[in-house]
């Protein structure tokens, strides 16, 4: 036998821990069609004969959705034809917020789905002085209850047993809708006698995508929707009151909380962590520690990845027979893959920290501290998480905006996140800084370090400024809702963190990976083909012009000549008039174009153009330093170097980010605005910088 189980519950109830415990590594994370809300499914063997497909639905406080994540829940529960439609629903409740959690329980049960209750974190009961009369609560709610503790590994057997016998669960509704508004609901029932009342009610009140036709039929045929939105909301409120009356009546006799024994760990920690002054100091220190450790820890695996891929390329070139395929593999695909994998360490470390901050409950405090300040720029307290994540990679960061309920604030967050200094900009900054910023120090801080810090600040600063401009110019009306739960502080569960890091990293690899790879191959095609004799007869031309050269020096010279006359070289030359006011030549132009795969490709491209023998950074740097203009002055001087850094700071050079923005905003309009707006800004700033400094 096989059955579908849906796990539902408020955020912070440990629902995902239950899911992780039940399914282990059999989990599959996919996307719901059309939107990027993660769909988590897994398999659990309930007994020797029963297999369960478990779906972990996004956390929600009620079936009245206020964000995309939440609307996914209702869409599944209302659609009996969906292949994931559950045979049984498990509502996960946190023992400390039983009352509020039961609101969702009554809603799910009213849909006529067999529903059981899972009370989680039962290990907290003694410490918090909570006693629950389970048999009586089961009787009054007309359901079965499993009391579970993941930390103590208790209650899971009972849970499985109850799930196997799900057919015994009652599907009787908990509240009577006629009590809310006799006239309205009688009318509704008489018009659609064969439909379930609560389902109809949800279809009328929710703005969800599900079954557009069915919904349209209901709404158009009668005047139920002619009730003004205000009246509908009044009814929803009455419904909520009704549900709480039902719940309060039950809990009065089944739940005892001995306030005396409740410890005030939360308030003690809160006093420091959200203190008006120390709260910010602590947040700042935490951020500094995170960044410091990310860069320290990931440099070792990154160097290893870098050299491994470089030597893999070399080996392939030597061992495979010469030809198009070898060249595609060693110069297109392998470097492309390397360009993706090199970012994994930083991204994994960053999400390790972010998930620890979220799991412990600290992130909500940061949201609380930052909301007022960020709101001034048209953002939301919740924008903090994307802005921090953006320092690793904009792709997961853009996806992290999903829990911002207000569309305008969410959109602005998505649009400005790519300004934050992502890890792909770092190698570019590093080499340019080493090249044009003098060594030496000011008040004990060295110039080069200061410049890097300055670039980070410029990134954040530009994100804020453009957010402010967007908030003033975007004409989107959306009510500003800000309701953030401040969960209890908890020790993070290692398993949850591991799984989060794994999933986020996988998202990066799959989302960014395929685009980076595709562009790498495209660039390889453009670089290894060219019109005319200069390309096809490069070898003879170079040999006759440079008779003294031989060996590596000769083949490097040939490659460089080829690149110059390849399609991409021609492209670089054709944009030279455009970029020379910024202080760049056509060679930098080529590097700028190839940066659209990923910014760090800049360095590798220059290495090829300058026909450098090795990919070692030191060699490339020295070669760049010796590059001169027509008048004999160095090409990379302070003016052009800083101009380039600003260009990389502001320009939208990441196709993968554009693709993810398209997905999240469901239109090409916003990524196009990003591409044009950011690139124009970059051009303008780089232009001014070069003109002033030179």
């Amino acid at each position: 036998m096989s059955l579908n189980i849906a796990l539902l519950g408020n955020p912070n109830t440990g629902k995902t821990s239950i899911f992780n415990k039940l399914t282990g590594l059999s989990q599959k994370v996919g996307n719901y069609p059309g939107i990027t809300v993660e769909k988590k499914k897994g398999i659990c063997k309930l007994s020797n004969t029963t297999k369960a497909h478990i779906i972990d639905l996004p956390g929600t406080y009620s079936l009245n959705a206020s964000s995309i994540d939440e609307s996914v829940v209702i869409e599944l529960l209302l659609n009996k034809n969906n292949k994931d439609y559950p045979n049984v629903a498990v509502v996960v409740a946190d023992v400390e917020n039983l009352k509020r959690n039961l609101l969702l329980f009554t809603q799910v049960k009213d849909l006529g789905i067999p529903t059981m209750l899972l009370i989680n974190m039962s290990d907290q009961m003694k410490r918090k002085g909570i006693t629950i009369d389970i048999p009586m609560l089961e009787a009054k709610l007309n359901t079965r209850i499993a009391l579970v503790s993941i930390r103590e590994n208790k209650g899971l057997d009972l849970l499985k047993e109850l799930l196997i016998n799900y057919r015994e669960l009652s599907v009787k509704p908990t509240i009577k809708f006629e009590d809310i508004d006799q006239h309205y609901f009688d009318h509704l029932k008489n018009t659609f006698p064969d439909q379930q009342l609560y389902k109809l009610w949800l279809l009328i009140t929710q703005d969800i995508n599900f079954a557009k036709i069915e919904r349209k039929k209901i709404i158009d045929s009668i005047d139920f929707k002619t009730q003004s939105e205000r009246n509908l909301k009044k009814l929803q409120q009455k419904e909520t009151v009704k549900r709480y009356q039902f719940i309060n009546n039950i809990l009065k006799n089944t739940l005892v909380i001995d306030k005396e024994s409740a410890t005030d760990f939360r308030s003690k920690l809160d006093r420091i962590l959200i203190h008006k002054f120390w709260g910010y100091v602590i947040f700042f220190l935490i951020l500094m520690t995170i960044f410091q450790s990310i860069f320290d820890w990931s440099s070792i695996p990154q160097d290893f990845i870098d050299s491994t891929f470089a030597s893999l390329s070399e080996q392939l070139k030597i061992r495979l027979p010469e030809g198009v395929f070898t060249s595609l593999l060693s110069e297109g695909i392998i470097p492309g893959l390397g360009g993706i994998i090199i970012f994994i360490p930083q991204i994994a470390f960053l999400f390790l920290f972010i998930s620890i901050l979220e799991e412990t409950g600290y992130m909500s405090r940061v949201v609380f501290l930052m909301d007022r300040g960020l709101r001034r720029f048209g953002l939301n307290g919740k924008s903090v998480i994307p802005l921090i994540s953006g320092t690793a990679c904009a792709i997961p960061a853009v996806m992290a905006t999903r829990n911002i309920e207000n569309w305008k604030e969410r959109l602005i967050t998505i649009l400005v996140t790519p300004f934050t200094t992502c890890s792909a900009r770092l190698p570019v900054y590093a080499i340019l800084i080493a090249l044009v910023i003098p060594q030496g120090s000011f008040l004990g801080l060295n110039y080069q370090g200061l410049m890097l810090m300055f670039l980070y600040l410029v990134g954040f600063g530009m994100a804020l400024i453009s957010a402010w401009i967007l908030s003033k110019t975007l004409n989107i009306k959306s009510k500003s809702y800000f309701v953030v739960e401040m969960p209890n502080y908890k020790l993070p569960l290692l398993r949850n963190i591991g799984i989060t890091v794994w999933e986020k990293t996988k998202t990066f690899i799959t989302e960014a990976g395929k685009i980076i790879l595709a562009i790498s191959i495209l660039l390889w095609i453009l670089a290894s083909n060219g019109p005319g004799k200069d390309f096809s007869e490069a070898e003879q031309i170079v040999k006759s012009n440079h008779k003294q050269l031989n060996g590596d020096a000769l083949s490097n010279k040939i490659n460089s000549h080829k690149l110059e006359h390849s399609y991409i070289g021609i492209l670089g030359k054709s944009i030279e008039p455009l970029i020379s006011p910024l202080g760049y030549d056509w060679k930098i132009g080529i590097a700028l174009i190839s940066s659209f795969a990923a910014r760090e490709v800049f360095i590798g491209t220059l290495a090829t153009i300058y026909s450098v023998e090795s990919n070692a950074e030191e060699t490339i740097k020295n070669r760049m330093a010796s590059e001169v203009r027509a008048d004999g002055k160095p090409l990379f001087d302070l003016a052009s170097g800083i101009s380039l850094m600003f260009f990389y700071a502001f320009a939208m050079q990441c196709m993968s980010t554009l693709a993810i923005v398209k997905k999240e905003t469901n239109s090409w309009k916003w990524p196009m605005i990003q591409l044009v707006g950011m690139t124009l800004l970059a051009y303008f700033v780089a232009f001014l910088t070069y003109q002033i400094l030179s």
Binding site: S62, T240, R372, S480, F482, V483, N488
Partner: protein, 75 residues
């Protein structure tokens, strides 16, 4: 009766009335209903947002929402 944003820190009050047109349904569902207890735990700088305990939920809401919730101080 005073608007919730004027509730002194640490004092306990009872919600008397809410202007539900101005409040998100989500807040109501999280327990912001007449008759429930409320206390102010902490204010962020510039007194916004507010960190509240409403019924048994610990929530942060903005001042503009709190102004539409009216409470009476408990003795």
């Amino acid at each position: 009766m005073i608007p919730l944003d004027q509730l002194p820190k640490g004092k306990l009050a009872v919600i008397e009335d809410i202007d539900s047109d101005q409040l998100p349904l989500k807040l109501i569902e999280m327990g912001c209903l007449p008759g429930n207890k409320v206390s102010l735990i902490q204010k962020a700088p510039l007194n916004d947002p507010l960190y509240l305990k409403i019924d048994e939920s610990h929530l942060a809401i903005r001042k503009e929402s709190a102004q539409h919730i009216f409470v009476r101080l408990s003795k």
